[in-house]
Protein backbone atom coordinates (compact mmCIF):
# COMPACT_ATOMS: atom_id res chain seq x y z
CA UNK A 1 0.00 0.00 0.00
CA UNK A 2 1.20 3.44 -0.89
CA UNK A 3 2.11 5.45 2.19
CA UNK A 4 3.42 8.94 2.59
CA UNK A 5 5.32 9.77 5.73
CA UNK A 6 5.73 13.43 6.57
CA UNK A 7 8.30 14.51 9.12
CA UNK A 8 7.43 17.73 10.86
CA UNK A 9 9.13 20.11 13.20
CA UNK A 10 7.33 19.36 16.47
CA UNK A 11 8.09 22.75 17.93
CA UNK A 12 6.64 24.52 14.90
CA UNK A 13 3.56 22.33 14.61
CA UNK A 14 2.54 22.23 18.28
CA UNK A 15 1.13 25.79 18.38
CA UNK A 16 -0.73 25.15 15.15
CA UNK A 17 -2.39 22.15 16.74
CA UNK A 18 -3.83 24.41 19.43
CA UNK A 19 -5.65 26.37 16.72
CA UNK A 20 -6.66 23.21 14.89
CA UNK A 21 -8.08 21.69 18.07
CA UNK A 22 -10.12 24.81 18.76
CA UNK A 23 -11.53 24.64 15.25
CA UNK A 24 -12.17 20.92 15.75
CA UNK A 25 -14.11 21.70 18.92
CA UNK A 26 -16.29 24.12 16.94
CA UNK A 27 -16.95 21.46 14.35
CA UNK A 28 -18.23 18.97 16.89
CA UNK A 29 -21.58 20.73 16.86
CA UNK A 30 -21.68 22.68 13.61
CA UNK A 31 -21.09 21.91 9.96
CA UNK A 32 -18.11 23.46 8.21
CA UNK A 33 -20.34 24.75 5.45
CA UNK A 34 -23.86 25.99 5.88
CA UNK A 35 -26.25 23.28 4.87
CA UNK A 36 -28.54 24.28 2.03
CA UNK A 37 -31.39 21.86 2.29
CA UNK A 38 -33.25 20.79 -0.79
CA UNK A 39 -36.40 20.12 1.27
CA UNK A 40 -38.47 22.15 3.70
CA UNK A 41 -39.16 19.01 5.71
CA UNK A 42 -37.68 19.39 9.20
CA UNK A 43 -37.20 15.64 9.67
CA UNK A 44 -35.41 15.38 6.36
CA UNK A 45 -33.15 18.29 7.22
CA UNK A 46 -32.36 16.90 10.66
CA UNK A 47 -31.44 13.50 9.23
CA UNK A 48 -29.37 15.17 6.52
CA UNK A 49 -27.53 17.30 9.09
CA UNK A 50 -26.87 14.42 11.46
CA UNK A 51 -25.41 12.30 8.67
CA UNK A 52 -23.11 15.14 7.64
CA UNK A 53 -22.12 15.83 11.25
CA UNK A 54 -21.27 12.18 11.86
CA UNK A 55 -19.03 12.06 8.81
CA UNK A 56 -17.40 15.37 9.62
CA UNK A 57 -16.63 14.34 13.21
CA UNK A 58 -15.23 11.01 12.11
CA UNK A 59 -12.95 12.72 9.59
CA UNK A 60 -11.70 15.31 12.09
CA UNK A 61 -10.98 12.59 14.67
CA UNK A 62 -8.92 10.78 12.04
CA UNK A 63 -6.82 13.88 11.48
CA UNK A 64 -6.35 14.67 15.16
CA UNK A 65 -5.32 11.05 15.65
CA UNK A 66 -2.24 11.71 13.52
CA UNK A 67 -0.92 14.00 16.21
CA UNK A 68 -0.84 11.54 19.07
CA UNK A 69 1.88 10.86 21.62
CA UNK A 70 3.91 9.02 18.99
CA UNK A 71 3.96 12.15 16.85
CA UNK A 72 5.45 14.09 19.73
CA UNK A 73 8.23 11.49 19.87
CA UNK A 74 9.33 11.35 16.25
CA UNK A 75 7.46 14.18 14.53
CA UNK A 76 6.18 11.88 11.82
CA UNK A 77 2.68 11.42 10.45
CA UNK A 78 1.73 8.65 8.05
CA UNK A 79 -0.88 9.04 5.34
CA UNK A 80 -2.11 6.00 3.45
CA UNK A 81 -4.72 5.13 0.87
CA UNK A 82 -6.95 4.11 3.75
CA UNK A 83 -7.03 7.38 5.63
CA UNK A 84 -6.37 9.91 2.88
CA UNK A 85 -10.04 10.56 2.04
CA UNK A 86 -10.88 11.32 5.65
CA UNK A 87 -7.83 13.51 6.01
CA UNK A 88 -8.64 15.48 2.86
CA UNK A 89 -12.16 16.15 4.10
CA UNK A 90 -10.95 16.98 7.60
CA UNK A 91 -8.43 19.48 6.25
CA UNK A 92 -11.17 21.10 4.15
CA UNK A 93 -13.56 21.35 7.10
CA UNK A 94 -10.93 22.70 9.47
CA UNK A 95 -9.62 25.24 6.96
CA UNK A 96 -13.12 26.57 6.34
CA UNK A 97 -13.73 26.86 10.07
CA UNK A 98 -10.36 28.51 10.76
CA UNK A 99 -11.10 31.02 8.04
CA UNK A 100 -14.57 31.75 9.38
CA UNK A 101 -13.39 32.14 12.96
CA UNK A 102 -10.06 33.95 12.59
CA UNK A 103 -9.31 35.00 9.02
CA UNK A 104 -12.41 36.77 7.75
CA UNK A 105 -10.64 40.11 7.84
CA UNK A 106 -7.70 38.86 5.80
CA UNK A 107 -7.98 39.88 2.12
CA UNK A 108 -9.04 36.97 -0.05
CA UNK A 109 -6.04 37.32 -2.39
CA UNK A 110 -3.78 36.62 0.58
CA UNK A 111 -5.91 33.78 1.88
CA UNK A 112 -5.91 32.13 -1.54
CA UNK A 113 -2.19 32.65 -2.14
CA UNK A 114 -0.32 29.51 -1.05
CA UNK A 115 2.93 31.48 -1.10
CA UNK A 116 1.70 34.44 0.92
CA UNK A 117 4.13 35.64 3.55
CA UNK A 118 2.84 35.37 7.06
CA UNK A 119 3.90 38.97 7.63
CA UNK A 120 1.16 39.99 5.18
CA UNK A 121 -1.34 39.05 7.86
CA UNK A 122 -2.11 41.01 11.02
CA UNK A 123 -0.19 39.65 13.98
CA UNK A 124 -3.29 38.43 15.76
CA UNK A 125 -4.20 36.26 12.77
CA UNK A 126 -0.76 34.82 12.07
CA UNK A 127 -1.08 31.62 14.04
CA UNK A 128 -4.50 30.73 12.56
CA UNK A 129 -3.14 31.64 9.12
CA UNK A 130 -0.18 29.32 9.66
CA UNK A 131 -2.55 26.53 10.72
CA UNK A 132 -4.71 27.24 7.65
CA UNK A 133 -1.65 27.02 5.40
CA UNK A 134 -0.38 23.91 7.17
CA UNK A 135 -3.65 22.08 6.48
CA UNK A 136 -3.50 23.25 2.88
CA UNK A 137 -0.05 21.71 2.55
CA UNK A 138 -1.27 18.40 3.93
CA UNK A 139 -4.03 18.42 1.32
CA UNK A 140 -1.51 19.26 -1.39
CA UNK A 141 0.76 16.38 -0.40
CA UNK A 142 -2.13 13.92 -0.38
CA UNK A 143 -3.40 15.09 -3.75
CA UNK A 144 0.05 14.95 -5.30
CA UNK A 145 1.26 11.68 -3.86
CA UNK A 146 -1.79 9.54 -3.18
CA UNK A 147 -3.76 10.59 -6.26
CA UNK A 148 -7.20 9.92 -4.79
CA UNK A 149 -9.23 10.75 -7.90
CA UNK A 150 -11.05 7.46 -8.43
CA UNK A 151 -14.75 7.76 -9.12
CA UNK A 152 -17.07 6.95 -6.23
Amino acid sequence: MKQVEIRLNIGAVAPLLDVIKQAADDLRTTLAIRARFPEEDADFNETWTQELMAGQNSDVRELLGLFDSEFFTDGAIAITGENCDSLLRACAALRLRIHERWLREVPVDIVEDPDAEITAVAEVARLPFAAYTFLDQIQKIILEHLSPAGTE
Binding site: W48, C84, R89, A92, L96, L146, A149
Partner: protein, 101 residues
Protein backbone atom coordinates in the same frame (compact mmCIF):
# COMPACT_ATOMS: atom_id res chain seq x y z
CA UNK B 1 3.11 1.83 -5.97
CA UNK B 2 0.03 4.00 -6.08
CA UNK B 3 -3.07 2.03 -5.28
CA UNK B 4 -6.58 2.87 -6.31
CA UNK B 5 -8.33 4.50 -3.41
CA UNK B 6 -11.65 2.92 -2.57
CA UNK B 7 -13.59 5.36 -0.52
CA UNK B 8 -16.58 4.23 1.44
CA UNK B 9 -19.48 5.78 -0.42
CA UNK B 10 -21.71 7.63 1.94
CA UNK B 11 -25.24 7.77 0.78
CA UNK B 12 -28.01 10.09 1.64
CA UNK B 13 -29.85 9.16 4.83
CA UNK B 14 -31.67 5.90 4.30
CA UNK B 15 -34.76 7.01 6.17
CA UNK B 16 -35.37 10.04 4.00
CA UNK B 17 -38.24 9.85 1.58
CA UNK B 18 -37.94 12.14 -1.39
CA UNK B 19 -41.20 13.66 -2.54
CA UNK B 20 -42.10 12.65 -6.05
CA UNK B 21 -41.80 15.30 -8.70
CA UNK B 22 -42.88 15.47 -12.29
CA UNK B 23 -40.86 12.87 -14.19
CA UNK B 24 -39.78 15.33 -16.87
CA UNK B 25 -38.63 17.98 -14.42
CA UNK B 26 -34.95 18.78 -14.77
CA UNK B 27 -32.92 19.97 -11.82
CA UNK B 28 -29.57 21.73 -11.87
CA UNK B 29 -26.77 21.03 -9.44
CA UNK B 30 -24.63 24.10 -8.84
CA UNK B 31 -21.38 24.39 -6.93
CA UNK B 32 -20.66 27.77 -5.40
CA UNK B 33 -17.34 29.43 -4.80
CA UNK B 34 -15.60 28.84 -1.51
CA UNK B 35 -12.10 28.74 -0.12
CA UNK B 36 -11.26 25.16 -0.93
CA UNK B 37 -8.01 24.47 -2.76
CA UNK B 38 -8.72 24.27 -6.50
CA UNK B 39 -6.99 20.92 -6.97
CA UNK B 40 -9.12 19.59 -4.12
CA UNK B 41 -12.32 20.82 -5.76
CA UNK B 42 -11.25 19.24 -9.05
CA UNK B 43 -10.64 15.94 -7.28
CA UNK B 44 -14.03 16.08 -5.55
CA UNK B 45 -15.90 16.76 -8.78
CA UNK B 46 -14.09 13.84 -10.39
CA UNK B 47 -14.85 11.56 -7.49
CA UNK B 48 -18.48 12.49 -6.91
CA UNK B 49 -19.67 13.21 -10.44
CA UNK B 50 -17.28 11.03 -12.40
CA UNK B 51 -16.04 13.94 -14.51
CA UNK B 52 -12.80 13.72 -16.41
CA UNK B 53 -9.92 15.92 -15.32
CA UNK B 54 -10.37 18.56 -18.03
CA UNK B 55 -14.09 18.99 -17.48
CA UNK B 56 -13.68 19.13 -13.73
CA UNK B 57 -11.01 21.81 -14.13
CA UNK B 58 -13.27 23.86 -16.41
CA UNK B 59 -16.02 23.79 -13.80
CA UNK B 60 -13.65 24.76 -11.01
CA UNK B 61 -12.32 27.68 -13.05
CA UNK B 62 -15.88 28.81 -13.71
CA UNK B 63 -16.69 28.53 -10.00
CA UNK B 64 -13.62 30.58 -9.18
CA UNK B 65 -14.26 33.25 -11.80
CA UNK B 66 -18.06 33.44 -11.93
CA UNK B 67 -18.84 32.32 -8.40
CA UNK B 68 -20.80 29.26 -9.45
CA UNK B 69 -21.04 26.54 -12.04
CA UNK B 70 -23.77 24.13 -13.10
CA UNK B 71 -21.97 20.83 -12.74
CA UNK B 72 -24.80 18.44 -13.45
CA UNK B 73 -28.42 18.37 -14.64
CA UNK B 74 -30.99 15.63 -14.28
CA UNK B 75 -33.67 14.27 -12.02
CA UNK B 76 -34.20 15.68 -8.55
CA UNK B 77 -33.40 12.55 -6.59
CA UNK B 78 -29.99 12.15 -8.18
CA UNK B 79 -29.33 15.88 -7.85
CA UNK B 80 -30.02 15.63 -4.11
CA UNK B 81 -27.75 12.61 -3.78
CA UNK B 82 -24.93 14.48 -5.52
CA UNK B 83 -25.55 17.55 -3.39
CA UNK B 84 -25.31 15.46 -0.26
CA UNK B 85 -22.06 13.87 -1.44
CA UNK B 86 -20.59 17.30 -2.25
CA UNK B 87 -21.55 18.53 1.22
CA UNK B 88 -19.68 15.58 2.69
CA UNK B 89 -16.59 16.89 0.94
CA UNK B 90 -17.39 20.44 2.14
CA UNK B 91 -18.14 21.90 -1.25
CA UNK B 92 -21.05 24.31 -1.20
CA UNK B 93 -23.70 22.98 -3.55
CA UNK B 94 -27.32 23.82 -4.23
CA UNK B 95 -29.98 22.41 -6.50
CA UNK B 96 -32.56 24.32 -8.49
CA UNK B 97 -35.31 23.34 -10.88
CA UNK B 98 -34.35 24.17 -14.42
CA UNK B 99 -37.13 26.76 -14.80
CA UNK B 100 -35.53 28.80 -12.00
CA UNK B 101 -32.39 29.26 -14.10
Amino acid sequence: MIVAVESTPRRRPASVTVPQTQPAEVWRLLVLDDLNRMSYAVMVLRRVLGLDEMRARRHVMEIHEAGRSVVWMGNREQAEAYMFALHQWHLTAIIQPQEAA
